[in-house]
């Protein structure tokens, strides 16, 4: 560790020798903060200054401390941490002396053509030896590094693997994922995992299902670490090739709360599903609090006087009557066909998570046919299970399984229309892409006459509405409001206002 510690006490008192941030580092930090803002993180001026102050108190060569110092001062929401980390890795992955940020003890030369495979052989790589490994030797090293869980070895393997398999060329305009894919394909990690498990079984003998499960989790965890090393190595090389700003830009990703339901990647979807539990808990707690505290009933005269007796007749503690707000009833009618299915899932989840706020929630799902799914949600502990059943068991196909809003609304109106009363709020969910079927929008109009409110929630950007076969405008005309709900942030806001 080439760490230079800051002299004791220099941080605060003005008399001590002032410790200056090097110009290069200062510039880098400024760029870093600009990039954080570009990624959507709300960094205030105070926080910016705090960060500059904080890094003065950490040992200069210590990359981990440096990261925590910046994180603690600049990132105040946990779900922004990932975005922060990505930007951090890009900004500080070049470890030249000019930036005064070291990592480990080794120094890496990226200046002169490390990307050039032909010359790679005579350069000193991080794994120490290993430049002239045969493919078999590299595979063996990979296996060993995972079996031992040896970080240093993994780093070396990652470096070698990227150099050999990624096929990186200077100036080539492809993204890091392409290189990652090429590297991983050559490593055959699935095969390695099976070999590791086999080896474990051979050496440890008889193992229960649970033991096998635990081994698998352990090896998968290690493979995850290797994965990270490979990504880091690719990123480092890309930054060296293209420069920090360009790289940061290509890596920019929406924050979880801004991810589009309709275009979420698999990984984003997994993250969204993880985000929904804390979000609903938070929302429920907030609403409960609102209900209890937001509205205060009228002064309770008798109780106030009674309380005042203990203060010699002075009404020191005014007492209030409990408010008696009545709760609305909610009907959710959701299109669950392909592209909008995820949106329907999240909305149902959120509405049921706060169903205590309503006198009753009933839900109906449709594609071209329609089915009531309220019973799936009754008495279940895990809403996710119910939502899963909705997707697999509900009877929603009538003719061909392409959305037909007109027919679905017709079925609803005939079977359940009479249940709508003046306390019912109806939420209709979907993109209203009706495959050029009949709209039957009169149903929505009659619904609105009977119900307290009718709202339309559309997961498409507003600019797409009423283009192609979307007829949302025709329905929205009869609603009390139509809303663009593309992401969790918008969904949460809508549901909160609903209560």
């Amino acid at each position: 560790m080439t760490a230079t510690s800051i002299p004791e006490g220099s941080g605060r008192s003005a008399e001590a020798a002032p410790w200056e941030l090097g110009d290069a580092l200062l510039e880098l930090l400024n760029g870093f903060i600009i990039e954080l803002r570009a990624a959507g993180l709300p960094v205030s001026l105070t926080e910016n200054l705090d960060a500059l102050e904080a890094v003065k108190h950490i040992p200069i060569g210590d990359r981990e401390s440096f990261k925590y110092a910046l994180g603690a001062t600049l990132v105040k929401r946990h779900n922004h941490w990932k975005a922060f980390e990505t930007v951090f890795e890009v900004y500080f992955s070049l470890r030249g002396r000019e930036y005064a940020i070291g990592e480990d003890s080794e120094r890496l030369d990226l200046e002169d053509g490390e990307l050039d495979d032909a010359r790679a052989g005579d350069q000193q790589g991080a794994g120490g030896a290993g430049e002239n490994l045969s493919p078999e030797e590299l595979a063996e090293m990979l296996f060993q590094s995972l079996m031992r869980g040896d970080s240093q070895m993994m780093k070396g393997v990652a470096r070698q693997a990227v150099r050999r398999f990624a096929g990186m060329e200077p100036g080539r305009p492809v993204g890091g994922t392409y290189y990652l894919y090429r590297t991983l394909r050559n490593l055959d990690l699935d095969g390695v995992l099976e070999r590791l498990l086999q080896q474990a079984q051979d050496t440890q003998g008889e193992a229960s299902e649970m033991d096998q499960r635990l081994w698998r989790d352990e090896y998968q965890h290690r493979i995850g670490r290797l994965h990270k090393e490979i990504e880091a190595e690719i990123r480092r090389r890309l930054v060296a090739d293209r420069g920090i700003e360009a790289m940061a830009k290509t890596l920019r990703r929406p924050l979880p709360e801004d991810v589009d339901f309709m275009h979420a990647s698999r990984e984003e979807m997994v993250n969204l599903r993880k985000a929904i539990y804390p979000l609903t808990r938070k929302l429920a707690a907030r609403l409960q609090r609102k209900r209890r505290h937001g509205r205060r009933g009228p002064l309770d005269f008798r109780r106030t006087v009674r309380a005042s007796l203990s203060y010699g007749g002075v009404p020191v503690e005014p007492k209030f009557r409990n408010p008696n707000p009545h709760k609305p009833e909610i009907f959710v009618i959701a299109d669950i066909s392909g592209s909008v299915a995820a949106f329907a899932r999240f909305t149902l989840h959120l509405v049921y998570a706060i169903s205590g706020q309503f006198s009753r929630v009933r839900s109906f799902v449709f594609i071209d046919g329609l089915d009531e799914v309220t019973p799936y949600f009754e008495g279940v502990e895990d809403i996710n299970e119910a939502v899963h059943r909705v997707n697999t068991e509900a009877d929603v196909v009538w003719v061909d399984g392409h959305s037909d809003y007109g027919h679905a609304l017709g079925v609803f109106w005939q079977k359940y229309g009479p249940d709508i009363g003046p306390r019912t709020s109806v939420m209709i969910l979907g993109d209203a892409r009706n495959n050029y079927h009949a709209a039957e929008s009169w149903i929505v109009k009659e619904m609105q006459d009977k119900a307290r409110h009718v709202y339309w929630l559309n997961p498409e950007p507003r600019s797409y509405w009423d283009t192609g076969d979307s007829i949302v405008g025709e329905y929205a005309r009869h609603c009390d409001g139509s809303f663009e709900v593309r992401n969790l942030r918008q969904l949460e806001a809508f549901v909160e206002n609903l209560v």
Binding site: A72, T73, V75, E209, R273, D382
Partner: protein
Amino acid sequence: MPFRFEDAASLRDGLRRVDYLSDEGIAGVVYLADRLQKPVLVEGPAGTGKTQLAKSVSEVLGTRLIRLQCYEGLDEAKALYEWNYKKQLLRIQSDRSDEHDWAGVSEDIFSEEFLLTRPLLEAISAPDPVVLLIDEVDRVEVETEALLLEILSDYQVSIPELGTIEAKQIPLVFLTSNNTRELSEALKRRCLYLHVDYPDLEREKEIVLTKVPGITENLADQVARVVRSIRQVELKKAPSVSETIDWAKTLVLLGVEKIEEQTASDTLNILLKYQSDIRKAAKELVTADGVSV
């Protein structure tokens, strides 16, 4: 004022000595909080040692811990200070008899003698360098947060009738939150942010070894592994560190040396609170192929 900690590493050692297992991030942020004289906002899942962190830090320092437990409806009178009405009323009544002038009485009854100090004011006026814990700050209403702002940025309290009371010593302040609501930007800006997550395998094992008397290293390792695997399952509520500890204690009491499937599923109810989670975890654990999330 001298700094409390030499560096993050020595703080981490200190915490270990009082049986709190931190990591580089936790120790680093607390160290910075002292250097920058800023409060730390500690967020994270339930039972991951947020409250304990403040307690353990005060133990390391050998200083007093002043705790403000937040709850819905907490107000100025309970958090900061309150005028002692009853005493004031009594004084007014006793004064009535001898025709005192009102200005005199008012001056009199708004003096420190009639002031009831609550935790925040107590921390500010303490002569010693205390640790102040504002626990579960997300439970108070947003409007109540405003009460904290002056203290957290200027370490002072303004009392209209008395003037401004400034801190004699800057307390080391911890705020914890279970994240049931987003705290205000104003509050967050004043704080350093620390997210305390479930510990990694090694740290959890160490915690178990420290907190569970008589447990073998081998069993502690197994406990940490099973818990890690269970946390990967999509659950309503993942096991917390305190639940891990409880589970480990139970296993020791049962004389378990190696955790078999049967033992695990028989005792899962200590680790998990919801029936649906217990069912799900039991099913996952005995499926060697792993989860398809």
